[in-house]
């Protein structure tokens, strides 16, 4: 058995993982980053819009401050997040932005002088701000606060970050997957890792292990997430039996993923006056939301779209039903300039020219607010020596809804925090490692692989994966109710049974993709069950979690966070709850037009705005 020892083992080479490693390395620790893909290919690169930080350099940012950013974030979260974490985050975000600039990110800069906004207002950028970092407008924020690099913010951030990792000589082992954590019930000692080039197993031993593997979007089949986002880090954390996942029922959907492919097209299409049409090319949002129409909040629009398709008004395709987004009336000039990215996505991936043709869209899973539950410094609950950062984690910045632009900012800020925590915890301590734990864990993984290679199992991994995706999309998506959620839990439990009986159709040797999927599958069903079961138990509506049968936020009973562990051999997660930390801003109205005490229908119609 090959064993590699290091100070810090970071699982995941996206922005959060790399920033954590850079912080720990610059404090003298040896770090190894494990990544499914070369780090510059991580899903962080897909974040195009921007990174929130209260820089206050723009005319429309006047009066912005960490306080305002804090308030926006807590309201966006529907008071489901940790306010001490939000405070720390908004304070560090501007420093993170400037440090990324120091490391080479070409942030767009303030150009002094007057300019005309799309709504006709003329604003004047100040002379004294010329050349400082610019920001643009994002939904759900009071001020212009999203710092950006043209249309490739995530790309530029990830390249700059990875370049620093290269400069510091941080070792990256790419095309590997952590398949189990090594632990002794109280302390984490590292991970058993499968080399996706060769199929070989290795053990990595480290006093500090950091999970930074991003979201689990792909468990939902229809997701804007990269195909590698299958929740692998959350799976191995939950697999320990002692580490809880927090608020897994909090899942964000975006109304306009294209069909097929599920690539996001921006809300700017609707912001600029685009329509949503059904199979009869009827503009149906006018019927549901006479006041706001397509510009109702992201969650509301998603719910209306799904409802309308369920009534049979979707366009049927081999990829499932969809609706149309119509921006033809905005004109060629507007589309080619203001919506250039959208036009490119349509032409490159759909062969659709949005100047003359309709764009096929439907609501698509977008972001996981839940993840490995940690304290406010990134230490995972349940196991010493285990940490988490970024979308894979739940230190709980986002509560039940993430504000647009806060995800990029979180990856970097939390990486700074967790890297510091790891170094602090390591200082002056001895590391005693129980070799038996590594041997046992590796044997268990070897046995799982041998069982699959031996054959005899009947279930085909891609059938099960598609089944999980269908159940979640149908019953645990934008609309939720007790009856459907109960059914979803029951059906997912059946799939979980079947996942114990997987069989390979190919030989499974070396870098065989069927073997990799088969090893992930049982854990993916557990995560799906955790989402569905948590949603079933939470009898209220908060942020993205919308219950048709409990349409109100219920602060009396549900101002608390779900903690889900999975006991060995169990068929369902064990749910516990902990209170949400309110340090500054007591629960109130989010200010998106929703009003407490309205009829559920009216409240649903107005519920939350937000984000990008």
């Amino acid at each position: 058995m090959t064993t590699i020892v290091t100070d810090v083992l970071v699982i995941g080479g996206g922005l959060a993982g790399e920033r954590t490693a850079i912080e720990a390395a610059s404090r003298g620790l040896r770090c190894i980053i494990l990544s499914l893909v070369p780090p510059k290919r991580s899903h962080s690169s897909a974040a195009q819009g921007g990174m929130q930080a209260a820089m206050g350099n723009m005319a429309e940012s006047q009066g912005d401050s960490p306080d305002v950013h804090f308030e926006d974030t807590v309201k966006g979260a529907d008071w489901g997040n940790e306010q001490d974490v939000a405070r720390k985050f908004v304070t560090l975000a501007p420093i993170a932005i400037r440090q990324m600039s120091y490391w080479g990110v070409p942030w767009n800069r303030v150009v002094a002088g007057p300019r005309t906004l799309p709504d006709g207002r003329v604003i004047e950028e100040a002379k004294e701000k010329e050349g400082l970092i610019a920001a643009r407008n994002f939904g759900g924020t009071k001020k212009w606060r999203a710092c950006y690099c043209s249309d490739g913010t995530g790309h530029s951030l990830l390249y700059a970050m990875d370049n620093v990792a290269v400069e510091l000589g941080i070792e990256v082992h790419d095309r590997v997957e952590a398949v189990a954590l090594i632990h002794g019930g109280e302390r984490c000692f590292g991970a058993v890792v499968r080399d996706l080039r060769t199929g070989e197993l290795r053990s990595y031993i480290a006093p500090a292990t950091v999970i930074a593997t991003g979201g689990y979007g792909r468990i939902y089949g229809l997701s804007t997430n990269a195909v590698i986002n299958e929740g692998t880090g959350m799976i191995i954390a939950q697999d320990t039996g002692v580490v809880p996942l927090g608020n897994m029922e909090a899942v964000q959907f975006h109304p306009t993923g294209v069909v097929p492919g599920d690539i996001l097209v921006t809300e700017g299409c609707r912001g600029d006056g685009g329509y949503l049409l059904d199979k009869n090319e009827h503009r149906f949002m006018v019927d549901y939301e006479p006041a706001k129409k397509e510009l109702a909040s992201r969650d509301v629009v998603s719910r209306r779209m799904v409802y309308h398709m369920r009534q049979g008004y979707g366009i049927d395709t081999p990829y499932g039903p969809h609706l149309w987004l119509d921006i033809r009336h905005l004109g060629k000039e507007h589309i080619e300039t203001n919506l250039r990215d959208v036009a490119e996505i349509c032409r490159d991936f759909l062969g659709v020219d949005p100047v003359h043709q309709l764009i096929p869209v439907r609501p698509t899973q977008h972001y996981s607010m839940g993840g490995v539950r940690t304290d406010s410094e990134g230490r995972a609950y349940g196991l010493k020596g285990l940490y988490a950062a970024g979308e894979a984690s739940c230190w709980d910045l986002h509560g039940f809804n993430r504000l647009g632009g806060n995800s990029l900012a979180e990856t970097i800020v939390m990486g700074m925090v967790v890297g510091e925590t790891v170094a602090k915890d390591r200082a002056g301590t001895d590391f005693t490692f129980q070799e038996r734990c590594a041997i046992d864990t590796q044997k268990q993984v070897e046995e799982r692989i041998r069982k699959l290679l031996r054959g005899g199992g009947k279930e085909y991994v891609f059938d099960l994966r598609n089944r999980v995706s269908d159940i979640l999309m149908e019953k645990v998506a934008v609309f939720r109710n007790g009856k459907d959620l109960e059914k979803a839990v029951e059906e997912l439990q059946e799939v979980y049974e079947r996942a114990q009986n997987l069989g390979l159709r190919s030989n499974g040797l070396g870098p065989n993709p069927e073997m990799a999927s088969a090893l992930r599958m049982p854990g993916m069903v557990r995560v799906a069950l955790t989402i569905a079961y948590g949603a079933l138990q939470r009898t209220e509506s908060r942020g993205s979690h919308y219950r048709e049968d409990y349409a109100h936020r219920d602060d009396v009973n549900w101002l608390k966070r779900t903690l889900a562990t999975w006991q060995p051999g169990a068929k369902l997660p064990t749910l516990n709850y902990e209170p949400v930390k309110i340090t500054e801003l007591p629960p109130g109205e989010r200010g998106y037009g929703e009003a407490q005490g309205q009829a559920p229908q009216a409240q649903a119609a107005q519920k939350e705005a937000i984000h990008g």
């Binding site: 893909v37 080479g104 070409p106 150009v111 970092i133 492919g261 190919s506 070396g510 069927e514």
Partner: protein
Amino acid sequence: MARTLHFSIFRHNPYDPQSVPRMQSYTLDETPRATLFTTLNRIREEQDPSLQFDFVCRAAICGSCAMLVNGRPLLACKTRTEELPETITMHPLPFFRLVGDLSVDTGSWFGEMEQRVESWVHQQHSFDPNGLEERMSNDKALEIYELERCIECGCCLAACGVALMRPDFLGAAGMLRVARYLADPRDHRSEAQVLEVLAPDSAVSGCVGFLACDDFCPKNLPLEEQWAFARRWLLAHGALSDNRPTPQRIG
């Protein structure tokens, strides 16, 4: 009328002792708006779960899925089947080490390139967390951004005749990375370092100017212009003699 597509795909798993390099045929009905991303996944799920290929973002952002399709290097995710004839041949990208089937190891090559060109900002001072950011004109920021849009897909190297003959060739991707730092006022690397990287035959002097890199870059990066810039920079710094024939674009 839906077409039937005939695929001929390169197969080899170096970790299977029984495996020999070969071409394998698959037949599939074409679905509307299908890309090679959706199509290859259908082949894997419906016909052959052992088929290896790499996709990550499937939105032409991450650079994972470059391969040869009917002999031309391109990003599979942004290639729609309706742009292709009924018979489609697919090979892994040349130049990079084969992982298996259509999957190649681009990560190792780009990692080494980044060490070689020192792909990071060479700052002269340390970061001050309490200070304001250094000012920069927006035009300068946009210029740098244009030069760092490379997604490391490897199409430029797979298309390059020189790279196929000499494995140490820096390629357009490496040259562009140097140009990106030369354009950045925050970078203070020495001229000697740039000369050492750009001047040898394994870099700018070795380029024969076919410019297939420019033809096949899926991000339409200004590679031709940047080769010219690099050559001019070397001339200005005395690294290329004037009587050396200047490479010309052919055709």
